[in-house]
């Protein structure tokens, strides 16, 4: 059995490795939750890369239905074609459009199937996929046949917790909650992206970053991906430790703060909190 150990671009904690390997060994879907920007979606791509598998990605939106992941029957196109006496119309299979799950089921080799942001869809969406994920098969009414997975794909499901998922669905999955990285893990992650970064610059950047995260009431807390973008800009702008040391959010703002804070109200909120001397806010 192939084991997932993380890749050179992706630091996976031991906890996460075990969760992934358990899901692969027992052929169960793995549900990943965690704060935005902690690498939930990336995980599926990294698993595919590490194990050398194809990946099928199904990005769920608010209007996505479970059926779309299986297949869609384009009755309108068939109706229109029939007006012109097209011979194609006699065979219904021409109008069946395969969805991502079907594609993953059909794949000759074991593949990775990512169902991204499952919580975005309608509340009934996960319930509609119970049998499909459990047995890895479904029935196509139009063709009157059962589509069964040749190789059970490695299914990774991500959720941002916008909606609660039904119990019946949860029971069929394994679950892992990616915690926001601790300081040391975060330093490791940054080093993966910037192997040559100076230690003191990193130290100061981390202080600013974790300082912002500690303030209550921020709409969008900066996360790993924001930190990495920000450090990239700091490096490009040749900022030094001294530049970061004088940041206090009242007189001196962090350079390129737009990449850390994605919401102008958050920025005002920090100013206010800082002026009011909110005690959870550390002096940088």
């Amino acid at each position: 059995m192939q084991e997932f150990k993380g890749t050179e671009n992706y630091i996976a904690t031991e906890e996460l490795q075990i969760a992934v390997n358990a899901a692969i060994a027992l052929e169960k879907p793995l549900l990943i939750k965690g704060e935005p920007g902690t690498g939930k979606t990336l995980l599926a791509f990294e698993i595919a890369k590490a194990l050398g598998k194809d990946i099928h990605t199904w990005h769920v939106k608010s209007t996505t239905t479970a059926q779309q992941g299986l297949y869609e029957y384009d009755a309108v196109a068939r109706l229109r074609d029939s007006q012109f006496g097209d011979d194609k119309t006699k065979d219904i299979s021409h109008y069946i459009i395969k969805g991502k799950m079907w594609q993953a089921f059909e794949s000759e080799e074991k593949s990775v199937l990512l169902i991204d942001e499952i919580d975005k869809a309608d509340i009934e969406f996960p319930n509609d996929l119970l049998l499909e994920l459990d047995k890895m098969e479904f029935y196509c009414y139009e063709l009157q046949k059962t589509i069964k997975a040749k190789n059970r794909p490695i299914v990774i499901i991500t959720s941002n917790n916008e909606k609660e998922l039904p119990d019946a669905f949860l029971r069929r999955c394994f679950f892992h909650f990616i915690r926001f990285p601790e300081r040391q893990t975060m330093i490791d992650i940054v080093k993966v992206h910037f192997p040559t970064i100076e230690d003191d610059l990193m130290e100061e950047a981390m202080k600013v970053f974790y300082g912002i995260r500690e303030i209550h009431g921020i709409k969008k807390k900066p996360s790993t991906s924001e930190l990495i973008d920000w450090i990239r800009l700091l490096k490009l702008g040749k900022n030094t430790k001294e530049d970061l040391e004088k940041i206090d959010f009242v007189a001196a703002q962090p350079p390129y703060y737009g990449s850390l804070l994605k919401n102008e109200q958050d920025f005002e909120h920090i100013l206010k909190a800082k002026r009011a001397g909110q005690n959870t806010f550390r002096r940088f």
Binding site: M1, I18, N21, A22, A25, L79, Q83, H176, G217
Partner: protein, 395 residues
């Protein structure tokens, strides 16, 4: 194998099933994890626990089972030092403070008080053992001093100023299947249907019309389906005087959960202050700053407060009036913030409308809510929903 552990989890109310237990055994059989406690912990967690809200309890149970850690040690709570300090500052006169010095200083007295409080916590039933130091201390209850600090015991009067004992609160279970059909129908009024999103519904009427105009050739017209886009925040008062109304609150809660897709709910006690909470079991550890709520949700949200609005008026108007902690801003200020921010806001009151005018706190809240307080009858509910839709209802 690990059956006892599994049964312990089950007993402690974690939603684990036999299927998951078998999965765990299978994973062990397949040597997914190495044979050490840490790996087993990771593995069992990923297989057995499906929601982050249970992770904490799982950690406790795991530790308890595999290391014999006493649960009670972890759950034991200290009485916050600043409560004691604040109370003493507020309640002692200058002479009394001098007396305290004579008795060996504040520290000593506080130590004694703390000790007594802990004893009190252990034997709180009946509420007959009150803290006192021979009649000279303002701590204790016996008398009718309305500003006195009542420590422990169940509140007979509805307007005790401070209660230190931590009460038992229950979460309003959302899975109660009571007869909620009427309530659901009332909630249905709170519908704001809009056509939004992708056009994937056949617009039959327009299609026929256009096909006719097109001399019989199909001309298909699509439209987006109608969906209910209403978003609601529910705030529940729990504990204390709300206990008699638990059943009706459960019904409202259960109906709202099934009827409203975009629904968030929070709990508070008596009045809203600087923080509220989402999970009653975690209410002392996991609180959400109220500013975060005001900041996070925009004005599209409809706000429903559910509470009997029965408390001591100080709890609304005074600084430090809360029964549970010292609040820097009055409850009224917090309620006003909600009323100012959200144009569509109502207060549902389960107590009998007939008595509202006789309860000062109810009158104050009704005034803050600009009369948008409704009884929890079907009529009241229907009117509340109409108000939430932005219609003026004379009540």
């Amino acid at each position: 194998m690990f059956l006892d552990f599994f049964l312990l989890l089950k007993e402690e109310g974690l939603p684990v099933t036999i299927g998951e237990y078998l999965n765990l055994l299978e994973a062990l059989n397949k040597r997914v994890a190495a044979f050490n406690v840490e790996d087993f912990y990771f593995l069992s967690k990923t297989i057995l626990i499906k929601h982050e809200q249970f992770l904490d309890r799982y950690d406790l149970l795991f530790g308890n089972y595999f290391h014999g850690i006493e649960l009670s040690d972890i759950e034991k709570k200290e009485i916050p030092e600043d409560w004691l300090k604040k109370e003493i500052d507020r309640l002692f006169s200058e002479e009394e403070k001098a007396l305290i010095e004579k008795l060996g200083g504040l520290e000593k007295v506080m130590e004694r008080l703390k000790q007594l409080l802990e004893e009190q916590k252990e034997k709180h039933q009946g509420g007959n053992k009150w803290i006192g130091t021979g009649g000279t201390s303002p701590f204790g209850h016996g008398g009718y001093n309305p500003e006195g600090v009542r420590i422990g015991g169940s509140g007979g009067q509805k307007s005790a100023i401070k209660v230190w004992e931590k009460r038992e609160y229950q979460n309003y279970a959302s899975d109660v299947e009571l007869n909620t059909r009427n309530i659901k129908l009332a909630l249905k009024r709170l519908r704001i249907l809009t056509r939004e999103g992708i056009e994937d519904e056949l617009d039959l009427h327009t299609t026929i019309e256009k096909t006719c105009k097109n001399a019989g050739y199909l001309d298909i017209e699509m439209q987006a389906p109608k969906k209910n886009r209403v978003k609601v925040l529910l705030f529940f008062d729990v504990g204390g005087s709300m206990d008699p109304h638990v059943e009706i609150c459960e019904q409202i809660f259960s109906a709202a959960k099934s009827e409203l897709k975009h629904l968030e709910f929070f709990y508070f006690h008596n009045c809203v202050y600087e923080s509220i909470w989402k999970d009653n079991n975690m209410r002392h550890n996991d609180r959400i700053p109220t500013f975060e709520i005001l900041h996070k949700f925009n004005q599209d949200y409809r706000i429903i407060f559910v509470g009997d609005a029965t408390m001591s008026p100080y709890e609304i108007t005074a600084l430090g009036g809360s029964v549970e902690h010292y609040n820097d801003e009055s409850g009224a200020a917090w309620l006003q913030r909600f009323v100012d921010k959200f144009p569509n806001i109502v207060w549902l009151n389960p107590s009998n409308e007939y008595y509202w005018d006789g309860v000062p706190s109810t009158k104050i809240i009704k005034h803050i809510f600009k009369d948008r307080m409704f009884p929890m009858t079907l009529d009241g509910l229907a009117n509340a929903m109409k108000t939430l839709k932005g219609k003026k209802v004379v009540h």
